[in-house]
Amino acid sequence: MTAENQIKDTVTQNDVVLFMKGTKTMPQCGFSSRVAGVLNFMGIEFQDVNVLADDGIRQGIKDYSDWPTIPQLYVKGEFVGGCDIITEMTLSGELDTLLSDKGISFDKDAAEKIREANG
């Protein structure tokens, strides 16, 4: 299967997917670690894809989204953003809205705690 098809299958078969360096339990880059940490803390179920394990996916995901950097978060097949965008959306509450709109369950109290701690 081509990298593009593999990526398409992954983002359509899983509600929330994070393409990252390392894994959700062992991230290997501070930016990937930050986004995985937010998702974990908010109790969001997500599929992690370690781009360091596959060069085809590592380049393929950049072409797929026309986005030059990792991590990349997808919700219901749609590219949401990288580390800065996810951080901003978490603090502004936009991420809560997006997840609610898409029917993804998450811990609202945990999201509030992140905002209180970074307010």
């Binding site: 880059c29 030059p68 953003g81 800065d84």
Partner: protein
């Protein structure tokens, strides 16, 4: 030419920002993944530009990536972006 200088010049040309700050943060990431020893691996851009106002979050970042150019983006490991 230094990479931060080039990023600054390209963003200035493309986006006519009201304010622009480009920081080389590579020293903070020395020894981490992505540090290639060049001292020019990690950068952070803080920008305010009317040309970005009407764009979505993703649109703003794309406009900044495009302005910096694939060649420069390909030479650096990380680019943090704050749009004011």
């Amino acid at each position: 030419m230094r990479i931060d200088t080039q990023i600054h010049a390209r963003l200035t040309d493309a986006l006519a920002p009201e304010s622009l700050d480009v920081q080389n943060e590579s020293a903070k990431h020395a020894g981490h993944a992505g540090d290639d020893g060049s001292g020019e691996s990690h950068f952070h851009v803080t920008i305010k530009a009317a040309s970005l106002d009407d764009l979505s979050r993703i649109g703003r970042h794309r406009a900044i990536h495009d302005a910096i150019g694939k060649d420069l983006m390909g030479r650096i490991h990380a680019l943090g972006i704050t749009v004011l």
